[in-house]
Symmetry: C2
Subunit: 464 residues, 2 copies
């Protein structure tokens, strides 16, 4: 693609919009901005600019559009597929200082936020008002716009759904700098094509989200977690469809294995309540009374015991629950700390196919002679599986990674799964999306992209 290179005049323009202290070039740009969390690819922007308002974003996009300069929006860089890496240089817009909570509307149960609000701040704020923002990805220091752009799901998707379900409206700057509002503070909407739903999950390729109106729920009054040890992973995972079939819907159903728990204990320097078994299910139930929750989990506890669980460990105090979920939240970091480099597979499969996929991935360790560690959202079929480099040389690592990925993604497609459950496609997963969706779908994606961004300047090289 033939983009204009950044020159002195471009820098002067950006300084005129954002002042000098928010425009960075060359060595002023921190290394962090050249990669995301998994850092499989590295590339610096030609210029980094911190924005504080929608108007600034709009002015920058108008200029970039006129001058054919690629623009990559970036939040906290917690992505795992290179979606926020500026592949073609150009301008990177750091959105993370647009981080104000704008308005809590208790009449309509909505919250207006700027894009850079962190997930952990958001949930703290609403919970202080006895309200609830259900999406709960492991990475709490991600921005809300990052979550919106990948349609993140998190732990509670089993019961509550994903980020898209909680976005009522967006303010978006288009590639030509025009500002649009999509959706509204309304519960229903059948007024033209749902651009709101299209922009959610579009990884910054269709527009830059500058404001979001989120749907909130009343905060459930109680929550109880069950940690359930099983003889092995297969027994644990095969229990999941039985739980779903029982017509009791837990808030979360996670699975975890002993060595990931041990890695997390070491990483956090903190004991997990139990690490004697090879595999565990971790379930949460929420509701408005202990009695109501107990009734639900008793049935599920029996299903687990009938399916070979050793025990059912009930965490009904906030403290015990926090310690378990803190460990769960650290799994990614703990696995990362245990190796030199890693890459991940974030497939989602129908819930009754999880056991088959997990077994398949586990067997690849021996077949391909490489360490593979995983955990995931057993209740919604979304697995996070990490391939670890350890001491492999460049050549072997790249070859093995390619081999393992091809096998994993083919298996996922065979099981009627999808390439990504919540981390997105970005740069790293493009070939797998293409082989999974086919030429016809990719052409529809491209046509839609061109409808929004005819010059292909918004986060180019991502998704396809």
């Amino acid at each position: 693609m033939d983009y204009k290179k950044i020159d002195k005049y471009d820098i002067d323009f950006l300084v005129s919009i954002c002042t000098k202290d928010r425009v960075f070039v060359g060595e002023e740009i921190n290394e962090d901005f050249s990669h995301d969390e998994l850092a499989g690819i590295k590339k610096y922007p030609e210029v980094l600019v911190e924005v504080l308002s929608t108007e600034e974003v709009s002015k920058i996009m108008k200029y970039a559009y006129k001058n054919n300069i690629p623009v990559t929006p970036r939040g906290q860089g917690t992505g795992l597929v290179g979606a926020a890496v500026p592949l073609y240089g150009g301008i990177m817009i750091n959105m993370s200082n647009m981080n104000k909570i704008l308005e809590l509307d208790e009449d309509n149960l909505t919250l207006d936020v700027e894009p850079g609000v962190l997930l952990m701040e958001l949930s703290k704020y609403v919970e202080e008002h006895d309200l609830f923002y259900p999406p709960d990805p492991g990475e709490k220091s991600a921005t809300i716009a990052g979550n919106i752009n990948t349609n993140a799901g998190g732990m509670r998707a089993v019961k509550y759904g994903v980020t898209r379900d909680y976005v009522r409206a967006l303010e978006v700057v288009l590639s030509n700098g025009e500002i649009i509002s999509v959706g509204g503070k309304v519960v229903k909407n059948s007024s033209g094509y749902s651009l709101k739903d299209l922009i959610v999950g579009s990884e910054g390729t269709l527009g830059i989200v500058t404001k979001a109106t989120l749907k909130l729920l009343p905060l459930p009054k109680k929550s109880i977690s069950l940690l359930i040890p099983f003889v092995n992973l297969e027994a644990a995972i095969e229990t999941v469809p039985k739980i779903i079939k029982s017509k009791i819907i837990p808030t979360a159903i996670e699975y975890m294995v002993k060595d990931v728990i041990l890695a997390s204990e070491e990483f956090l320097g903190m004991k997990f309540p139990d690490s004697s078994a090879d595999a565990y299910l971790l379930l949460t139930f929420d509701g408005n009374s202990t009695q109501e929750i107990e009734k639900a989990y008793e049935k599920v506890a029996h299903i687990c015991l009938d399916s070979g669980a050793f025990d059912v460990l009930i965490s009904n105090t906030q403290e015990r629950q926090d310690s378990i979920w803190k460990a769960r939240g650290a799994f990614l970091e703990a696995i990362k700390a245990s190796t030199t480099e890693m890459d991940e597979c974030d497939v989602v499969v129908p819930r009754n196919k999880i056991a088959e996929f997990v077994k398949f991935a586990d067997d690849l360790q021996h077949k391909c002679n490489i360490r593979i560690k995983g955990f995931g959202h057993a209740g919604d079929g979304n697995l996070h599986i990490y391939i670890l480099r350890d001491e492999l040389d460049d050549n072997t690592w790249n070859k093995k990674l390619d081999e393992v990925f091809k096998l994993m993604y083919s298996k996922a497609i065979e099981l009627e799964g999808k390439v990504s459950g919540e981390h997105g496609i970005g740069y790293a997963k493009r070939p797998y999306l293409k082989s999974s969706e086919g030429e016809l779908m990719m052409n529809l994606f491209k046509n839609i992209k061109l409808s929004f961004d005819p010059k292909n300047i918004l986060n180019p090289g991502k998704v396809f």
Copy 2:
């Protein structure tokens, strides 16, 4: 638009695909196929063809694409905005005989259906399996694909959301006859743009839905309705934001006024439990135990009594509930039967603006000297307001209708509402969508339309 006219060769082709007994021309076409439920516009297709499979639809679309023939898909014709009226003649595809329930997957809580399955058959089927399809529009004889194409919401949207939230996957025939699958039997998905969410609500303009995979929930074990009489409509509706704010979420919150109830009693020949008050709220609560439900509704009952309700009439038997909801379901038909012709306004406003809008609409009766009757989903801000022709002559009717609509839609936009909550735009509401969304958004809609349907042969003249 310059479409090919249907000739003998086209008919021969359709007969070769669907056999002679499923192809209708000229006087063989029943009058029903020239309009929808509100019949503001009337136009016959040049040929009507009944399809039985995706392959037939695909072959017809390939032919239509090649020959530049407009195609209008149609279900039961229960729409209210002319979306299924073949404005440009051409081929009408009657989808209503593709009406098989294909697969209930209890492991994944999904149901695969053909497009012509009726909403009442669908809910009956899943409830027999102790499962629940939450969307519940008043018109139970609509097809599921009709509901998908308008993103219908219905009564239970307050708690459960709208049709889009329950569509996991779609099989769709594109304008060129290609068949695509969007979404999947998966709970999360971040694999490219969400075409599934774009096609839901697109009123047959982007593709023809030939199969849907729906998300189901466990059936709530109990449900209790409260009928709450108020001194007047204002008092009733002003109570709604207080209920939402109380952090108790009922399944449904409907409002109704005395003369609509009386019309319904007359239409059904059946007494409503109470018709002494000027206005009512009708609330439903569902859950897994009577105790849990009682706890929720007690709080809400107190809020209502504190806000001037005369009484709280509890319907805890299935029989009493059915009689109330049957009357509610007949409101549209009852109002229609009370006049010569009518047209409707299906705006949605933020929930805390409903009272203001309803009062505004009510005042228009006097201001414009025309009968206006309404009811609606007070809990989600979606109002169904009907303007009645009675004995007005053509000229006066058209003038008044235009005047009333302009005032109503302007008011809705002023309150940050949307033109349609669930009935869609179709033919009738296009000018209001345009003035509400503006040129920029309309251009995005058009570009997306052309991405899917470059020859504009699929349901042309609708939405924009």
